[in-house]
C-alpha cells in the first residue's frame, strides 16, 4: 500500500512529459535538429579524412547527444523552471514523494527522446552504412545503465540548479559542450586512443557519459561482451546509485534551507 502513491506520482509525472512530446509531434523535429546535423557533420568529417570506418562513432555520438541534451534541458533545468512557474512549491506541499517525481520525469524524458534517437540512427545508417560488430546483450545492458546514471546525474543537477536563479540556463550552456568533449561522445576520450593526459582522463571518467560511451563503442563496434566491459557496467551502476542518493539528499537540504530562508516560493531571482 505504501508504494502506491509513489508509483502513481511517478506515472503521472512521466505521462505529463510523454503527452507534452507526443501530443505535439513537432517537438520530435525540434529535439532531433542538433543531434542529426552534428552527427551528419562529424560523419562527413570522418569520411573526408579517409576514416570512414569510424563513421559509426559519429552516429552513436548523435544518438547519445540526444539523451545528454534531454538530461540538461529537461531534467537539470526542470525544477528551476517549475519554481518560476509556481509548480515546485506545489510539489513540496503535496504528499507526492519528490523521488517519484524525479524518476517519473526521467522515465518520461527517456521515452520522449527515443524517437529523436531512432531518427538519428536511421538517418546515419541509411546515409553512411557504418560497420557494426556488436555484442547486443552488452550493448543493451550498457545503454540501459548509461541512461540510468546519466538521468541520475540530471536529478542531481536539477537539485543543485535550484540554488541558482536565472544563472541555471547559462550553466547549462557552459556544461553542454565541455561534457560532450570530455566524455568523448564522438571519439575515444579514455583509454589508449585518447588524446588527453592521464589526469584529465581520470577526471573525465567521473562523468557517466564517458564510461557509457567507452563501453558502448567497445560492445557495438568491437563485439566486446559483458565479460570485457563488466568494470564499466559496475561503475555505471555505482554512479547511478550515488547520483540518486546525492539528488535526494540535496533536495531535502535545499527544501529545509528554502523553508528557513523563506525562498521556496521566490520565483525569479
Amino acid at each position: 500500500m505504501e508504494t502506491r502513491p509513489w508509483f502513481r506520482t511517478m506515472r503521472a509525472r512521466a505521462l505529463v512529459r510523454l503527452w507534452s512530446i507526443f501530443g505535439e509531434p513537432l517537438w520530435v523535429v525540434v529535439n532531433m535538429g542538433f543531434p542529426v546535423l552534428s552527427s551528419l557533420a562529424f560523419s562527413l568529417l570522418y569520411l573526408s579524412i579517409g576514416a570512414g570506418s569510424y563513421v559509426g562513432f559519429a552516429v552513436l555520438g548523435g544518438v547519445m547527444v540526444s539523451f545528454w541534451g534531454n538530461v540538461l534541458w529537461s531534467m537539470a533545468s526542470q525544477f528551476n523552471w517549475d519554481k518560476q512557474e509556481g509548480l515546485f512549491e506545489i510539489y513540496l506541499t503535496s504528499p507526492a514523494p519528490i523521488s517519484a517525481i524525479l524518476i517519473g520525469m526521467s522515465a518520461g524524458g527517456i521515452l520522449a527522446t527515443v524517437p529523436s534517437a531512432v531518427i538519428v540512427t536511421v538517418i546515419g545508417w541509411a546515409l553512411f552504412h557504418p560497420v557494426v560488430s556488436a555484442s547486443w546483450g552488452a550493448v543493451a545492458l550498457t545503454f540501459g545503465l548509461t541512461l540510468a546514471s546519466l538521468y541520475a546525474l540530471g536529478m542531481t543537477l536539477s537539485s543543485l540548479y535550484l540554488v541558482y536563479g536565472r544563472e541555471a540556463e547559462s550553466m547549462n550552456n557552459v556544461l553542454q559542450e565541455p561534457v560532450s568533449m570530455l566524455s568523448g561522445v564522438y571519439f575515444p576520450s579514455i583509454g589508449q586512443f585518447s588524446p588527453f593526459p592521464f589526469a584529465l582522463q581520470v577526471a573525465a571518467s567521473l562523468i557517466p557519459l564517458t564510461i557509457g560511451m567507452d563501453a558502448l563503442r567497445k560492445s557495438l563496434f568491437f563485439a566486446e561482451g559483458v565479460g570485457a566491459v563488466w568494470l564499466d557496467l559496475v561503475l555505471l551502476a555505482v554512479m547511478a546509485v550515488v547520483f540518486l542518493g546525492i539528488s535526494e539528499f540535496s533536495l531535502r537540504a535545499l527544501e529545509r534551507k528554502g523553508r528557513r530562508d523563506g525562498t521556496i516560493a521566490v520565483r525569479i531571482r
Binding site: 546535423l37 557533420a41 579517409g50 569510424y54 544563472e167 565541455p178
Partner: protein, 280 residues
C-alpha cells in the same frame, strides 16, 4: 542619427543582457568555454580519424579544421540573437514595447546582433588561441597559423564583411520567431548544425553531393570562412580578396532580401495579433 542612437542603445542592452548576469570577466570566461570545447571536439575528431585513417595526420589540415570550427560557432553565436531577442522579448513583454516606440524593431534587432557579434568575436578569438596552444601540447605539433599584424587585420576585415550575411540570417529566423512561441528555442541548434554541414567549416563543400555542394560553396558564410583561412593559414591574398568580395556581395543581397521578409512578417504579425502572443 536617431537610428544610430537606437542602434547603440540596443547594442548596450545586448551587452548588459549577455554579460551582466555575473561579473563581466566571469561571464566572458564562461562564454569562452563552449566555443573552446566545440573547437577541441572537432579538432580531436580530425586527429583521431586522420591518425587511424588512410590520409595521416597533417598539421595544416588541423589548422583548417581549427579555423573553420571556430568561425562557424562564431557565426551561429550571433546570427540567432534576433530570434532570442524576439522570443524572450515576447515572453517578458519587452518586444511589444519596443514595437510601440518610434524606432523600427529591425534597428533593435541589429543592435542586439551587433553586441553579440562583439562578444562572440572576443570569445571566439580567445577560444581559438586557447585551442591552438592546448592542441599543440596534446598532439606535440606546431599548428601553422600565420599570426602577423597583416593577417590579423585581414581576419578582422573578413569578420566585419560577414556581418550583413549573418544579420540577414538573423532577420530571416526572426521572421519565424514573430509567429512561433514554442520551437524558436531549437533554432540555435539548427543554425549551428546547418553551418557545420554546409559552410565548409569542417570539410570542403565538395564532400557534399551535387547540387548541394554548389549551393554550399556559394553561401556567404562559406566564402567568409574560406577568406579567413586564406588570411591566417595559407596567406593567399588573391584568393582572400576573391572570397571576400563574393562574401560581401552575397551577404548584402541576403541582408536586403531577409530584411524585406522580416518587415513584411512584422506587418503581418501585427495584423494577425501575434506580436505580443506568449503561448501558441
Amino acid at each position: 542619427m536617431m537610428n544610430f542612437r537606437s542602434l547603440f542603445a540596443a547594442a548596450w542592452m545586448g551587452i548588459q543582457h549577455d554579460l551582466a548576469w555575473t561579473t563581466p570577466a566571469a561571464s566572458l570566461l564562461l562564454n569562452v568555454v563552449a566555443p573552446f570545447a566545440s573547437v577541441m571536439t572537432t579538432s580531436i575528431i580530425y586527429w583521431f580519424g586522420a591518425s587511424h585513417g588512410t590520409t595521416g595526420f597533417d598539421p595544416t589540415h588541423l589548422a583548417y579544421i581549427l579555423v573553420g570550427a571556430t568561425l562557424y560557432a562564431h557565426i551561429a553565436a550571433y546570427a540567432w540573437v534576433p530570434t532570442v531577442a524576439i522570443a524572450e522579448g515576447k515572453n517578458l513583454a519587452v518586444f511589444p514595447h519596443i514595437y510601440l516606440t518610434s524606432r523600427s524593431t529591425a534597428v533593435y534587432l541589429a543592435g542586439r546582433a551587433l553586441s553579440s557579434f562583439v562578444i562572440s568575436t572576443i570569445t571566439s578569438m580567445l577560444a581559438l588561441a586557447a585551442a591552438y596552444f592546448v592542441l599543440g601540447v596534446f598532439f606535440h605539433t606546431g599548428i601553422p597559423l600565420i599570426v602577423t599584424p597583416l593577417s590579423l587585420a585581414l581576419l578582422a576585415v573578413a569578420l566585419l564583411v560577414n556581418i550583413p550575411g549573418a544579420l540577414g540570417l538573423g532577420y530571416l529566423l526572426g521572421s519565424y520567431s514573430l509567429y512561433a512561441s514554442k520551437f524558436e528555442w531549437s533554432l540555435p541548434g539548427y543554425v549551428a548544425g546547418l553551418l557545420m554541414v554546409f559552410s565548409g567549416a569542417l570539410f570542403p563543400p565538395t564532400t557534399l553531393p551535387w547540387p548541394i555542394s554548389s549551393a554550399a560553396a556559394a553561401l556567404p558564410y562559406t566564402l567568409f570562412i574560406s577568406a579567413a583561412r586564406d588570411a591566417i593559414i595559407y596567406g593567399h591574398l588573391a584568393d582572400y580578396a576573391y572570397s571576400l568580395l563574393f562574401c560581401a556581395v552575397g551577404g548584402l543581397i541576403m541582408l536586403a532580401v531577409c530584411l524585406r521578409i522580416y518587415l513584411a512578417a512584422e506587418k503581418r504579425a501585427r495584423r494577425d495579433g501575434v506580436l505580443d502572443r506568449r503561448l501558441a
